[in-house]
């Protein structure tokens, strides 16, 4: 079942007199239970793509269908409600409210929705157990380590049972060991809860946990890599790195603006 479909998605930004193309017509779909990593160098448009599919920004052209709803036809309140009930977000900088405890931060989307928290207690305990934070639920963010804070942010994103989880460089602010723990977690969540995940990263090690890796370059999808579930992580990583190198070589040969082969200066 398709959870997300983006068609001919484009985004242009005005910078003074100049306009910059961040995305130039991207077609992109995600099936339920898929774990997709979006990769690409800085300025390739990966974060812009995540913002557009998450309803945080509006495309200049094209449209996005998420959980059966076309975003283009929705007003601000409807998009907000869609985000509240169908999308979970995880950011690089955790973004937890410093005045609330871990549990309160997790339940925030439910409170905002005016939900009774009692029916969610079991899910909350299950998720906290899954991320290993049962004994930290009453701590405030300042009392938690970076990895713990990111795990709280992860549980917050999942508490509403969203159709899709969007993660923007979730390990970008963590040391490599903690980063791997978070990625293990995401993988486990995807398998155990059939949770659909779309993740933006520039780190091949992070991307190696996904089922599918989408490579962006200059606002376009340059390549897609499908990974079979039984393939070991190390092999995934090697394939991703090889693809990145191939794309870099190709980029060196092609002028980014014209799409023509670069002139041979030798």
């Amino acid at each position: 079942m398709q959870v997300l479909a983006a068609r001919a998605l484009a985004k242009e930004y005005r910078m003074g007199q100049r306009s910059v193309t961040a995305l130039a017509g991207v077609d992109f779909t995600v099936e339920r239970g898929e774990f997709v990593a979006i990769m690409g160098p800085s300025g390739s448009g990966k974060s812009t793509l995540l913002h557009l599919i998450g309803g945080l920004d509006k495309p200049s052209a094209g449209d996005v269908t998420l959980a059966g709803q076309e975003l283009a036809g929705l007003d601000d309140t409807a998009v907000t409600l869609l985000r509240r009930r169908n999308i979970g977000f995880v950011f690089q900088f955790y973004n937890l409210l410093p005045t609330l405890t871990a549990e309160e931060n997790i339940c925030l989307p439910l409170l905002i929705d005016g939900k009774d928290l009692r029916p969610y207690q079991e899910r909350l305990s299950q998720l906290l157990h899954l991320v290993g934070l049962e004994d930290r639920r009453h701590h405030r963010p300042e009392q938690l380590s970076g990895g713990e804070q990111q795990r709280v942010a992860l549980v917050r994103a999942l508490i509403t049972e969203p159709a899709i989880l969007l993660a923007d460089e979730p390990t970008g602010n963590l040391d490599s060991k903690t980063g791997l723990v978070i990625m293990e977690l995401l993988r486990r969540l995807c398998d155990a809860l059939t949770q659909t995940i779309v993740l933006v990263t520039h780190d091949p090690r992070t991307a190696s946990y996904a089922n599918r890796v989408v490579f962006l370059r200059d606002g376009r999808i340059a390549h897609e890599l499908h990974i079979a579930p039984e393939v070991p992580l190390q092999q995934n990583l090697r394939s991703i790195v090889a693809m990145m190198q191939a794309l870099e070589t190709e980029a060196d040969l092609v002028d980014a603006d014209t799409g023509m082969p670069a002139p041979d200066l030798d």
């Binding site: 974060s47 913002h51 998450g54 945080l56 920004d57 601000d76 309140t77 907000t80 409600l81 985000r83 509240r84 009930r85 977000f89 950011f91 900088f93 973004n95 409210l97 410093p98 005045t99 609330l100 309160e104 925030l108 989307p109 409170l111 905002i112 929705d113 928290l117 917050r156 923007d168």
Partner: protein, 861 residues
Amino acid sequence: MRLIRLMTLRSLRARPTRWLLSAFGIVLGVATIVAISITNRTALLSVTQLFESTSGRASLVVVPADKAEHGFPETVLRRVREHPEVDIAVPVLHVPTVLVNQSTPAEIDLDFFGTSTGGLLLYGIDTMSDVLVRTYQLRAGRFLGPENSLYEVVLTETFAKDNDIRLGTWIEVVAGNSVELLRVVGLMAKDGPGQLNGGAFGVMPLLAAQRLFYREGKIDQIDVVVSNASASGPRLEQVKEDLQARLGETYVVVYPASQGQRMTQMLGNYQIGLNFLSGIALFVGAFLIFNAFSMNVVERTREYGLLRTIGMTRPQVIRQVLVEAGLLGLGGSGVGSVIGVLLARGLTRAMALLLNQDLARVTVQGDLVVFGGVVGIVVAVLAAVVPAVQAGRITPLEALRVRGAQQTSWVIRRGWLPGIVLLALSTAALIANPFPYDVQFRAGSVVVFFSFAGGALLIPVTVTALERLLRSSISRLYGSSGRLGSANLQRAQARTALTVGALMVGVSMMVIVWAMTDSFKGDLDVWLRGYVGGDLYVTSSLPLGNDIWRRLETLPGVAAVTPVRYFEVTWVKPTGEREEITFMAVDPASYSRVTSFVYTEAMPDEQTALRMLAGGDVVFLSSIMAERSGLRAGDEITLLTRTGARRFTIAAVVLDYYNQGLVVQGSWVDMRRYFRQSGASAFMVKAAPDADAMAVKDEIEQAARRRDQLIIASNAALLQRVNGLMRQAFSMFDVLALISMLVGFFGITNTITMNVTERTREIGMLRCVGMTRAQIVRMVLAEAALMGVIGGVLGLIFGIMLSRIFMLAMTVMSGYRLTYVLGLGRVILAVVVAVAVSQAAALLPSFRAARSRILDAIHYE
């Protein structure tokens, strides 16, 4: 509810200083409103109650229309009693006197714009019938016997105690030129009628009083009790009109409480000032809330962005901010109400001093406390509306940006456009004053609020321009760090604009208070110097006869003596409306030898005006009455005299603030022939050029003080005391200016602290590349100094503009036309104070910035 508890209360707890500061604004506003409303009501209630309780069961009172102090014939009593609805009508004779051995006050007792000379007030009453109307609470001895001619008296307990008078003894009172004896047969409580004349009161049989004080066959007042069926409502109004028709124009029939009119009228102008104060206090409170919430929104941009990302709708965010404001308003109002009730006690005492009258005890008045509380909450919520909408506008994307990145809002870029429009419209509204009289104050306050808002919108564009202008001076003053500090000002424009706004409000309030008080004091001084002319001011508790005038003139060292006499008259306006004003009678010939009038219109020939006044049928008009009525020199004014309404020609308009400016000056001759008054209220004495004023004072004291019960004051001392009284009356406004500056102080501390926290990493980098701690301090101070100068200059401009407009509005509302005074010293001081406040406020944050460790700072997120 849970969301509110989690988000709102936690947020309030997380930033205690800022919220306490905002709540302080509401506490201040609500406390002032509650205190002032309670005080105003207590004062009005006391005045009304005083006259109601002194009149007992009487529903109506008959007094002479011309307010003459020599009363009217007793025979009128019969005409009143003949009315079928009148149950009881009792006569009263007012006898002002003094005890022979009563200690004469060493100095004149000043009340607000008038003088009170103390003394003992005796009522001559019909001993049989009066007790049917009034209740005298006897504390010792007995009440007056049925025989109306006995020389006995019942005094208030407090007066007897103060003057060491015992029951059964004889007291000596001054009656004309002789001394008479009265036997004290009873002592009554200082309650009901006992409250009259501040408790220096007694009653004696009518016949005896008439004989002793040469007032045979005369009375001053009739108290009327009507039959039960007519005691209230339209029936009473009908009886009042019937009686008025029966007695004719020479008498007026009034309700007992309306006798307090002069006192309530006097309170009126003071209350305008107090209401102005409460309006401003509330505005300052609202500004604090606005400021705190705006900063809060800037600081919590990321948090709101996150909430929007995880599904909070715009209305939910707005509601969140407004609930925070409402809670703050609720808390602030609660504390403010308690402080307000306490403050009301102090204010009531101050007002009692100004009125020279005991006021009722202040009680907690539920409706006023609730009103103050509701106003506090509404103002808090209203002040947070704009920040709330701004918070609602934050996009989810802003949660993902790096900390500190801010969008330049429309208000910053284009706010000056609506700012100019608001400012122009409010200025025009304040000058044109199109509001009906009874809503002028409230409408005016709203307009002032809008003009402040307009001014605040102009700040961002002005800050940019002034920063460029002042950049090089700041660099010269603070060195290279100054240049960095100056540039920093443009970085968090919204925050800078708010802080400069807080300072602007503070400085402009200070300038307004200075300009108003200096201008008022300036004019008051000019008037007082002319009004209290000569060298000595001589008055007494008793009317001063011509013989004293002549005796004073013959004393050695005296160059000239002139009498003045004040009494109430009724002014009949062209519309037929009547108003009680003061007639100040002077003897033009001697007056010009001792002092002079302060003419407000150019007088080609002062002597001609004085000659016209001496000729009779002519008055001088106070500038305030001229302003209020539109009358000018050459016009006519109608006053009620003993022989009915009479027109007087206005020969000149003069500066006179006596009785709040409701005064006309007429000649001694007119006073005698039209108003049948005699005797002076005071004499002004001019010492001979070679004589020492103090020696002349001693001379008068030796010659006449004891015999004539005189109170003598040197004009210099009198002026000093009046100025002291003025300072007291205006000190409340100084407190207001101080509070406004405090707002600026907290605003700057808040902003600089936030700036420093936000730039922790940057400051670490600067330290890394070699900036010393002292340089960091200078950089922060330079930024604050620039805010101080800009806030000071803008506040000065705004303050001058608003104070000029206020004066124009005041002229229209109350008739006061003042000469604008704001010295260069004050102008410089305003900017200096603003800069000093900015430096003091930035000191702590700058030290904090300089103290930060480089490694901590560069790792700060």
